[in-house]
C-alpha cells in the first residue's frame, strides 16, 4: 500500500500538469548578502493573483500568456516591480534591498503587505530577527524564545523555566526545528536563555494551530527556525560583547555565485557571577554554555543545490571539582533542493539529531561514576511543492524517523546500563491549497503517521497491563533486533488538517482551521518545568501515543494601508492519552517507567488578541490572551487518580497574559524600546495541613495546583545607538543599553513551604521543634541593567 501511495505521489505532477499556460519562477534574495528570503509576496496586479516564496526562497506561478507588472514585496524591503512579457516559461530571480524609508510613518511601497488577511494560514507567529534584536532582553542577550513568549498563546511556567507552552500544551509538545533537525532542549542555563544565537538565524516561524500537513510528531506547535546560508557576496564578520556572553559570526563566499558558508560561535561567562558570591559553596562552581552554528551551501547548477548545516551546543556545570554536569544538543542536516521542473520544487533531507546529558564525579575520584543518557534520531524526508497554477498548489512528501533512546548508563566504580529502546516513525502527507474564488481559499490535507516500537528489548509483563506495578511482574518477553514490540498504525494514524480563509474585503477576513496531530514520544518529566535531565521515551506496550484535536477560528483586519495588523483568534483543544505520574514517581535511571506513570486527558481553550505595527517610526505589538489549560487523570481506582479524578489547572495555566512591545526610532542613530508584561500567577500546590513524622514536619497536600503565586508584571526599557555607516569604512559598531525589570518588582518565581528550627541553639534534632512558613523566592528582584556592544566588518 505504501508503495502505491508513493508512486501516486510522484505521478501527481504528471497527471495534473497543464500546458496551456506559462510558468514564472525563480528565487527572491536579499541584495546585501544574497540570502534567500522566505515568504516574499509575488503579486501580479493585472490578475490580482499571487504566490509567495517557500522556505528556500523559491516561487513559481503559472499564468496565462501576457504582459504583467509583477511586484515582489517583503516587509522592511523596497518593493521590486518587474515588467514581464510572459510568452514562455521564464525564470526570474530578484534581489530586494532593505527599505530606506523606515522612518516614514506610512511606507508607501508596501501597499499590499497584507498576508495577515489574505493568507490561508492562521495561528502563525512570525518574527523578524532584526525586530527581536530591538526588544529589551535579560542581560541584553537577544533571545528568540523569550521574545516569542511575548506573542499571544505562547507562555512559560515562569522566568528561568525550561521550554515554553503553546495554547495550553506541555513543553514537550513543541516541535522545534533548526534547519529541519529536531531540537530536544531549546534552553541554556536551565531555561534562562535559548539555544538560538540570533546572529545565525534567518527566519523564525511558529505554528500554534492550523498546523500544515508537512509537520507532525508533536501536539501543540511547530517552531521552524532557519539558519542563515552565509553571505554569498562578500566576507563579513559580526559579533558582540555582552554581560552574559560574547559571540562572533563569520560568513562569506567559498566559490563566487556557487557556494557560501556561515560559522557562528557563542560562549557565556556566567562563572563570573558565581565568583562574586562570598559563599564557597557557590563561588567555586563553574557554569557556562557555548554553541556553534555552521552552514555551507553549494549550487550544483540551476536546478540543484546542497545545504549542509549543523549545530552543537553544551551547558557545563561543575561543583567544586566534585561533581560535573553537562548537557546539550547536536544536529546535522544535509539537504538537497532539486527542481524537477519550474513547477515542481523538491527537497530531500537527511537529519541526525542527538541530545545527551551526562553527570558524575571526576575520574580520579576513588568512588567516581558517570551517568549518561541520550536520544538520537535519524530522519530521511522528501518534500515536494507542486505549483499547478496561480490558484492551486500541492505539497506532498514522506518522512521516516529512526529513534534510539538510551535512558542511562553508569560507568565508573560500577557499570550498569539500562536497556536502549528503538522505534521507527514513518509518515506521508499531502495537502492542497486552492483559491476557490477571489474570496475563498482552502488549504486541506492529510498526514498519515505510524509508529513501531522495535527490539531488541526485554519487556516486562504485569498482572494488570492497565496499571503495571513493580511487584506484580508475571513474565518477561525477549524481543530481538527489529522484532516488532508494538505498532501504532491503522486509522488512528490519520491526521486531517484543514484551514479556510474567507476574505470579507481587502482589509479583513474570517479564518477557521482544524487539525488532529499525534505524538509518539513523550518527555518523561514530572517537575513543574522540564529539567535538562529529563529524557524522551517512546510509545510502546504501556504508553499510548498522545493525540490532540484543535479547532480554531479568527477574524483578521488590517488598517491604514496595512500599517496596522489586528487579529482575534478563538481556539479549543482536546488532548487524549497525556502522560502523568504516580505520586512520588521515581523517573531518573528507571528502566521500567511504566510502573510510574498514569494516563490522562486535557483541554485548553482561549481567545488571543493581537494588534501589530511593523512599519514606520513606531513599531511593535500589543498582545492579550485569555485562556485556560486543564488536565484530568481519572483512573479506575484512587491510586490512579489525581485530585480525585477532577479537572485541575495545568502548571502553565494563566488566565490573563498581556504584553506590549514597542520600539520608537527617535533619530537616525537612536531608537528606544519598551516592554510591559502582565500575567496571572501560575498554579502551585499549597499545603492544607501538616503532621509530624519522627523529627520531621511533613506538609499535607491534598489538591494538585490548588493555589496561585501572585500575578506577574514587569517593564523593561532599552535604547539602541546605531551610528551611520561611513562610506568606505568596513568596521562599524552599535550599542544597546537597557534595564530589565525597571521598577524592581519582586515577582514570585515560586512560593515554597519549609519548616525551620524553633530553637537554633538546640543541636539534637530529636528534641528540636519546627515551625512552618511560606517563602517567596524572587530570582530577579531588582532592576538589572545591561549593555551590549555589537560590531561588524
Amino acid at each position: 500500500m505504501i508503495r502505491n501511495l508513493l508512486v501516486t505521489l510522484f505521478l501527481l505532477p504528471v497527471i495534473l500538469f497543464s500546458q496551456n499556460k506559462y510558468t514564472l519562477s525563480g528565487y527572491a534574495r536579499d541584495a546585501s548578502n544574497g540570502e534567500e528570503l522566505i515568504g516574499v509576496n509575488v503579486y501580479v496586479k493585472e490578475l490580482k493573483a499571487g504566490a509567495s516564496t517557500n522556505l528556500y526562497g523559491y516561487y513559481s506561478i503559472t499564468l496565462p500568456a501576457g504582459s504583467y507588472q509583477v511586484e515582489y514585496q517583503y516587509i522592511g524591503f523596497e518593493t521590486v516591480i518587474k515588467s514581464i512579457d510572459l510568452t514562455k516559461d521564464m525564470s526570474v530571480s530578484v534581489e530586494l534591498s532593505e527599505s530606506q524609508t523606515q522612518l516614514q510613518e506610512v511606507e508607501v511601497t508596501s501597499e499590499r503587505i497584507d498576508k495577515n488577511v489574505t493568507s490561508v494560514e492562521m495561528s502563525v507567529a512570525k518574527l523578524d530577527v532584526k525586530e527581536i534584536q530591538k526588544v529589551p532582553q535579560l542581560l541584553g542577550e537577544t533571545d528568540i524564545i523569550r521574545t516569542l513568549t511575548l506573542l499571544p498563546g505562547i507562555t512559560t511556567v515562569g522566568e528561568g523555566a525550561n521550554g515554553f507552552n503553546v495554547r495550553g500544551g506541555a513543553a514537550d509538545q513543541n516541535l522545534i526545528l533548526l534547519d529541519e533537525a529536531p531540537v530536544y532542549n531549546s534552553s541554556h542555563l536551565f531555561g534562562f536563555f535559548s539555544i538560538f544565537n540570533a546572529d545565525a538565524v534567518k527566519d523564525v516561524k511558529v505554528y500554534k494551530g492550523g498546523i500544515p500537513a508537512q509537520y507532525g510528531g508533536r501536539l501543540s506547535s511547530v517552531i521552524d527556525v532557519r539558519q542563515k546560508e552565509g553571505n554569498s557576496k562578500k566576507y563579513a564578520f559580526n559579533g558582540g560583547i555582552g554581560l552574559l556572553s560574547s559571540r562572533l559570526l563569520v560568513e562569506g563566499p567559498i566559490i563566487k555565485d556557487k557556494s557560501s558558508f556561515m560559522v557562528a560561535g557563542r560562549r557565556s561567562y556566567a562563572d563570573i557571577f558565581l565568583a562574586l558570591s562570598d559563599d564557597p559553596d557557590i563561588n567555586q562552581n563553574i557554569l557556562y554554555f557555548y554553541d556553534l552554528n555552521m552552514k555551507v551551501n553549494y549550487r550544483l547548477g540551476d536546478k540543484d543545490r546542497l545545504f549542509l548545516s549543523g549545530y552543537f551546543g553544551r551547558d557545563v556545570f561543575e561543583v567544586n571539582d566534585l561533581f560535573g554536569f553537562d548537557w546539550g544538543n547536536a544536529t546535522t542536516s544535509l539537504r538537497w533542493n532539486h527542481l524537477f521542473s519550474d513547477k515542481l520544487f523538491s527537497n530531500f533531507t537527511f537529519v541526525y539529531s542527538d541530545y545527551t546529558y551526562s553527570l558524575g564525579t571526576p575520574e580520579d575520584d576513588e568512588f567516581s561514576f558517570r551517568l549518561t543518557s541520550r536520544i538520537q534520531d535519524y530522519h530521511l524526508k522528501g518534500s515536494f511543492n507542486y505549483y499547478l497554477n496561480d490558484k492551486n498548489r500541492l505539497d506532498y512528501g514522506f518522512e521516516g524517523i529512526y529513534y534510539r533512546f538510551s535512558p542511562g548508563e553508569i560507568t565508573g566504580f560500577t557499570n550498569i546500563k539500562l536497556q536502549n529502546e528503538y522505534a521507527i516513525e514513518p509518515s506521508l502527507y499531502i495537502s492542497h491549497e486552492a483559491k476557490i474564488n477571489q474570496r475563498l481559499t482552502v488549504l486541506y490535507g492529510l498526514r498519515y503517521s505510524s509508529f513501531y516500537k522495535i527490539g531488541p528489548q526485554l519487556v516486562q509483563i504485569y498482572e494488570n497491563s492497565d496499571f503495571p506495578q513493580e511487584d506484580r511482574l508475571i513474565d518477561t518477553l525477549n524481543y530481538k533486533s527489529f522484532d516488532l514490540i508494538k505498532g501504532f498504525d491503522g486509522l488512528q494514524g490519520l491526521e486531517p488538517r484543514i484551514s479556510v480563509n474567507y476574505l470579507i474585503n481587502e482589509q479583513s477576513s474570517l479564518k477557521a482551521s482544524f487539525n488532529r496531530t499525534r505524538q509518539y514520544i513523550h518527555l518523561i518529566s514530572n517537575t513543574t518545568s522540564p529539567t535538562p535531565i529529563d529524557l524522551y521515551r517512546p510509545s510502546g506496550t504501556y504508553i499510548d501515543p498522545a493525540t490532540v484535536y484543535q479547532y480554531t477560528m479568527g477574524y483578521f483586519r488590517n488598517f491604514s494601508q496595512n500599517t496596522y495588523e489586528a487579529s482575534v483568534e478563538l481556539y479549543y483543544k482536546d488532548f487524549l492519552n497525556l502522560v502523568d505520574y504516580r505520586p512520588g514517581a521515581d523517573l531518573i535511571f528507571n528502566e521500567f517507567i511504566e510502573t510510574e506513570i498514569l494516563s490522562g486527558i486535557g483541554r485548553a481553550y482561549g481567545a488571543e488578541f493581537l494588534l501589530r505595527k511593523q512599519t514606520g517610526k513606531l513599531t511593535g505589538w500589543l498582545s492579550y490572551t485569555l485562556s485556560r489549560s486543564e488536565l484530568k487523570v481519572d483512573g479506575a481506582t484512587a491510586d490512579r487518580q489525581i485530585n480525585q479524578g477532577d479537572w485541575y489547572a495545568s502548571n502553565w495555566d494563566k488566565l490573563h497574559d498581556f504584553s506590549i512591545v514597542l520600539n520608537y526610532q527617535l533619530t537616525k542613530k537612536w531608537d528606544i524600546s519598551a516592554n510591559f508584561i502582565y500575567q496571572t500567577g501560575r498554579p502551585i500546590t499549597a499545603p492544607s495541613g501538616k503532621f509530624e513524622f519522627e523529627e520531621i514536619t511533613v506538609p499535607i497536600y491534598d489538591g494538585r495546583n490548588n493555589f496561585r503565586i501572585p500575578d506577574y508584571h514587569r517593564m523593561d526599557l532599552s535604547a539602541n545607538y546605531t551610528p551611520e555607516r561611513k562610506p568606505g569604512k568596513r568596521f562599524y559598531s552599535s550599542w544597546s543599553f537597557g534595564i530589565y525589570n525597571v521598577y524592581a518588582r519582586r515577582n514570585a518565581y515560586s512560593i515554597y513551604f519549609q519548616s525551620v528550627a524553633n530553637d537554633p541553639d538546640v543541636s539534637d534534632f530529636s528534641t528540636q521543634f519546627f515551625d512552618t512558613q511560606a517563602v517567596r523566592l524572587s530570582i530577579f528582584a531588582t532592576a538589572i541593567p545591561f549593555a551590549t556592544w555589537n560590531f561588524n566588518f
Binding site: 559563599d279 576513588e366 521543634f769 517563602v775
Partner: protein
C-alpha cells in the same frame, strides 16, 4: 539534584535574587490521625499517636494521650504499648525477630478532645534482614580536589558486607555524642551494590562522619532494614519535607501510610508502623 539546580539558580543570580517569608491564606483540610512507630530486633517498640494541624499552626501538633495500643506478631497479639513520659508516646520492651510480620492496633476512646472515637490498624510489615557492621576506625582524610572543599581531618569509617541477593532496603541515621545530627532521611537499596564489601579493594570504607573536633567525641551510625513500601514512603516524606521551591520540583503528592481505619478501611492515616532489624556502631575519637 533539585537542590543543586536551585543553588545554581540562586548562585548565578546572587546579585538579583531574594527570598521573603510571606503570609498566605490556604484552606485547612480536615483533621486526620497520625500514627508513627516501629518494632525492632534490638530496642524497645514505640508508637506516637497525634493528629494533623493547620500548616501555619505553630508548635507541636496535638497528641492523643488516652489511646490503647496493641502489638501483633504474625497476627497474634503479643504486647500492649503503655503511655510513656512524653505526651502521645506509647512503648513496650518487646523485641521482634527477623522474618516475622508485625501490626499495631490503636484504639481511641470516646471523649478525646483531639479526635473522634475510632480504631486504627497498620498493614502487616515483615522484619527483613539487615547488613551488619564489621568494624569501624578513624582515619585522616584529605580528598584531593581543586579547589579544596573537603575539610582535612580525622573521619569515622565503617566496614561492612552487604548481604548477597537483591531486594534489601536500608535507612541510616547518625548521632554525634548522642545528639541526632540531622533530620534528613537517608535511604538506599542494593540494586547497584548487591553483595559488595565496603572497605575492600573495590569499594572503600564508608566515611560516615567527620572531621572530629575534640578528643573523646563519638559518632554512632544506625542502619535499619526496611520493606520496599516503607522505603518508598520515606522517600516521599523526604521529597515533601525538603522541597526547595524551584520549578524543577515534582508536584507534591498526597501521603498515604500503612494505617487504616478498621471500621472504614478506605480511610487512611498519615503515619507508618514499620518493622526493622537494626545494627549500630559507635566510633570514639582519640587523638
Amino acid at each position: 539534584m533539585k537542590k543543586l539546580i536551585l543553588y545554581i539558580i540562586t548562585g548565578f543570580l546572587i546579585l538579583t535574587s531574594c527570598q521573603d517569608v510571606v503570609t498566605i491564606d490556604v484552606p485547612n483540610s480536615s483533621i486526620g490521625i497520625n500514627i508513627v512507630g516501629r518494632v525492632t530486633d534490638s530496642a524497645d517498640t514505640y508508637v506516637t499517636v497525634s493528629v494533623t494541624a493547620g500548616y501555619f499552626d505553630q508548635g507541636q501538633t496535638p497528641r492523643i494521650e488516652n489511646a490503647t495500643v496493641f502489638l501483633y506478631e504474625n497476627g497474634s497479639r503479643v504486647s500492649e504499648l503503655l503511655p510513656d513520659s512524653l505526651a502521645g508516646l506509647y512503648s513496650t520492651n518487646f523485641r521482634g525477630s527477623i522474618g516475622n510480620s508485625y501490626e499495631i492496633e490503636v484504639q481511641i476512646p470516646a471523649g478525646n478532645p483531639n479526635f473522634e472515637q475510632s480504631t486504627w490498624r497498620s498493614f502487616p510489615e515483615t522484619m527483613n534482614r539487615v547488613l551488619r557492621f564489621d568494624s569501624s576506625n578513624v582515619r585522616s582524610l584529605n580528598r584531593n580536589t581543586s579547589p579544596q572543599v573537603f575539610t582535612e581531618g580525622d573521619y569515622a569509617l565503617v566496614y561492612f558486607q552487604e548481604p548477597l541477593g537483591k531486594g534489601d532496603n536500608y535507612r541510616f541515621r547518625l548521632w554525634e555524642n548522642d545528639s541526632l545530627v540531622t533530620n534528613d532521611i537517608t535511604v538506599f537499596f542494593d540494586d547497584v551494590i548487591d553483595g559488595e564489601y565496603f572497605g575492600g579493594d573495590v569499594i572503600p570504607a564508608f566515611d560516615y562522619f567527620g572531621p572530629f573536633d575534640n578528643n573523646g567525641d563519638s559518632a554512632t551510625l544506625e542502619v535499619s532494614s526496611l520493606t520496599r513500601e516503607y522505603r518508598e514512603y520515606l522517600e516521599l516524606i523526604a521529597q515533601l519535607a525538603f522541597q526547595v521551591g524551584s520549578t524543577f520540583d515534582p508536584p507534591p503528592a498526597p501521603v498515604t501510610g500503612n494505617i487504616y481505619n478498621v471500621d472504614n478501611p478506605q480511610q487512611s492515616g498519615y503515619g507508618y508502623f514499620t518493622a526493622s532489624a537494626v545494627d549500630m556502631i559507635t566510633t570514639r575519637y582519640t587523638e
